[in-house]
C-alpha cells in the first residue's frame, strides 16, 4: 500500500509553501528486496544507481535518474507521468513501496524573525517558571483555554485515564508483571477478584495486607479493573500480573533497606515494571538506589518513582526531586492538574545528574481503590502520577515487547509535549498506545 504524504498539520499551525525539486523520495517496504530491479523493470526508470556499487557508498544522487540508498531502503528518483502511473497502479510497485513524497529543498535557518521569536519565547518561559516574578499557576495547555479544566471524571473513566488516552487503548497489560512497592495491598478488595496477585512484606511484624490505603490506591491506578462494578474505570493495566511488595509500614514509614529488599524481590520475580510512590526529601542521589537502578535496567526491570511533593508553587517554592527518583537509572514522575498544568505540590528537577523529572502524569484528585470498607478514595500527589506511568509502561511493554532502557525511550518519545517547562514535566504527558 503506497501512502502519499500530505501536509497533515491542524489549521491552527503555521503553514508554509515547501520548495520542491520535482523529484520523488521513495521509501521501500523492504530495504533488502531488489528495489533497483523493481524501479527499472516495473516503473521503467532508465538509469538506477545503487549506493552499494560505490566506494564507501559515496554516490552522487544527481547522476542517474534514480539513486537507491541501499542502507536506508530509500531512493530519490525522477518520475515522468507514465512512470508515476506505474508506481501507483502496478501491484508490484504497490507492494514494494511504502511511501512516495516530493523531494524538498532545505536551507540553513538564518531567518532573523526566528531570533525575535526566540526572545519572546524566552521571556514567556521566564515568567512561567517564576524567574521574572510571573504567576506560575496559569499555564497554557496543549489544547484549550488557559486554566480551564479540560478533563474530568465521567461515569466511565477517571479524568486521568482520558487525558492519557488509556480509555481508548486496546491494550490490557496481559503478560506483564507490575510490582508496586508501597504499604501493601488490601486483598479483600472486591475489584481484584480473579487477578494474579503475588504479595510479600519487607516490614518486620507486618503482613502484606495494606493498613494505610496508599498501596491499594497506587495498585488500583496502575492495575485496576476495566469494568469495576458500580463505578468508573480507574486503572490502567487491567490484565497485568500484580506484585504487591510492602516496603512501607501501615503508618507510612519504611527504610532504604526495606525498599531495596522490595526492589530485589521484584527483579527476582522478573517484573517488567517496579512502581515506587515513595521517597525522602534529600537533595542528592543516594548511591544504593543508583546501583539498584542500573542493575534493574540491565535485567529488564524499569523502576518508576515519584518526583516528590515538596513544592508549594503558590509560594514560589518549586521543591526538588528527592531520592530514589533523583538517581540516574530511575524514571522520575511529576504530577499534573486536570488542565495539564503542573500540580502545585509537584517537585521540580534537581539540578544534578539523574535528578531530572522525566515524565508527567495525572496527579490531582485521582480516584482509585482504597481499604475496605471505604473501597475508594480521591487523593492527589506525585504518588498518584507514578502508577499512571507504571500502568502505561505495562501497556507499551505488551505492545512493543520492550523492557528496561528501550521501554523508557518509548515512553518518553511517545509522550505528549506540554506548554510547561521540562524542568517540571520532563518530556511531557505520558500517553497509552492506541
Amino acid at each position: 500500500m503506497i501512502e502519499e504524504r500530505e501536509d497533515r498539520r491542524p489549521d491552527s499551525e503555521p503553514t508554509g509553501t515547501a520548495e520542491t525539486t520535482g523529484r520523488y523520495v521513495i521509501v521501500f517496504s523492504d530495504p533488502d528486496a531488489n528495489n533497483v530491479r523493481m524501479l527499472q523493470s516495473t516503473v521503467g526508470v532508465a538509469s538506477v544507481a545503487n549506493s552499494r556499487d560505490f566506494d564507501d557508498q559515496r554516490v552522487d544522487p544527481d547522476q542517474a535518474d534514480a539513486t537507491v540508498f541501499a542502507e536506508l531502503g530509500i531512493a530519490v528518483t525522477t518520475l515522468d507521468p507514465s512512470q508515476l502511473g506505474a508506481m501507483r497502479t502496478t501491484s508490484e510497485a504497490q507492494s514494494a513501496v511504502a511511501s512516495i513524497s516530493p523531494e524538498l529543498i532545505h536551507h540553513p535557518l538564518t531567518d532573523t524573525s526566528y531570533v525575535a521569536g526566540y526572545r519572546d519565547g524566552a521571556a514567556d518561559l521566564a515568567e512561567r517558571i517564576g524567574a521574572a516574578g510571573g504567576d506560575s499557576m496559569g499555564s497554557a495547555t496543549a489544547v484549550g483555554e488557559v486554566g480551564v479544566a479540560q478533563f474530568f471524571d465521567t461515569a466511565d473513566n477517571t479524568w486521568g485515564l482520558a487525558a492519557t488516552r488509556v480509555s481508548t487503548s486496546p491494550l490490557s497489560g496481559r503478560g506483564i508483571k507490575v510490582a508496586v512497592l508501597d504499604t501493601g495491598f488490601d486483598s479483600s478488595h472486591p475489584d481484584f477478584v480473579g487477578r494474579n496477585i503475588t504479595t510479600a512484606s519487607f516490614i518486620t511484624g507486618e503482613t502484606p495486607q495494606d493498613g494505610h490505603g496508599h498501596g491499594t490506591h497506587c495498585i488500583g491506578t496502575a492495575c485496576g479493573p476495566k469494568k469495576p462494578s458500580g463505578t468508573r474505570r480507574y486503572g490502567v493495566a487491567y490484565e497485568s500480573d500484580i506484585f504487591a511488595g510492602k516496603v512501607l509500614s501501615n503508618s507510612g514509614s519504611g527504610t532504604d533497606a526495606s525498599v531495596l529488599a522490595g526492589i530485589n524481590w521484584a527483579i527476582g520475580q522478573n517484573c517488567h515494571i517496579i512502581s515506587m510512590s515513595l521517597g525522602a526529601n534529600v537533595p542528592q542521589a543516594h548511591p544504593p538506589y543508583t546501583a539498584a537502578g542500573r542493575i534493574a535496567l540491565s535485567k529488564g526491570s524499569l523502576i518508576v518513582a515519584a518526583a516528590g511533593n515538596n513544592a508549594d508553587r503558590a509560594a514560589r517554592n518549586f521543591g526538588f526531586v528527592g531520592a530514589p527518583a533523583n538517581s540516574p537509572f530511575i524514571l522520575a514522575v511529576g504530577a499534573l492538574e486536570e488542565d495539564l498544568s503542573i500540580a502545585f505540590f509537584s517537585a521540580r528537577t534537581l539540578f544534578r545528574q539523574g535528578g531530572g523529572v522525566d515524565l508527567a502524569a495525572p496527579g490531582r484528585r485521582v480516584f482509585s481503590s482504597w481499604l475496605m470498607p471505604q473501597r475508594y478514595n480521591t487523593i492527589s500527589g506525585t504518588s498518584m502520577a507514578t502508577p499512571h506511568v507504571s500502568g502505561i509502561a505495562a501497556l507499551w511493554s505488551q505492545s512493543t515487547g520492550m523492557r528496561g532502557r528501550e521501554l523508557w525511550s518509548v515512553l518518553v518519545q511517545e509522550s505528549d509535549r506540554l506548554f510547561e517547562p521540562s524542568v517540571d514535566v520532563g518530556s511531557g504527558l505520558v500517553v497509552a498506545p492506541q
Partner: protein
Amino acid sequence: MSAQASSWPHSEPGPCRLVRMVDVVVTVTGEHRERIEHVADALRAAGLQVTHVLEELGQVTGGIPEDRLDALRTVVGVQRVDRTGEVRIAPPDSPVQ
C-alpha cells in the same frame, strides 16, 4: 521475608560502653556478586548484623556499631558502604500523598 531488628543502644562486654548502631547497605563489587553469601559471612565476621542479602542487587543490609564502619569498608568484595535512612509517606487522611 522478614527483617531482623537491630538493637540500640548496644552494650559491649568489658569496660561499660554504649556504642551507637547505624543501619547500612553494603554494595558488593561486580566480581563478588556471584559469591555474595561469602561476602555476607565476611561482613558478619566484621560485626554486621545482616538483615537482608539481596542477590539480584548485589547488596547486603544490616546494622553495625558506628565505630566499626571503617573496618567494614576493608572487607574483600565491598565496593561501598552507605548509611540507610528513612522513607515515608503522608498519613492516610492527607489530601496530598
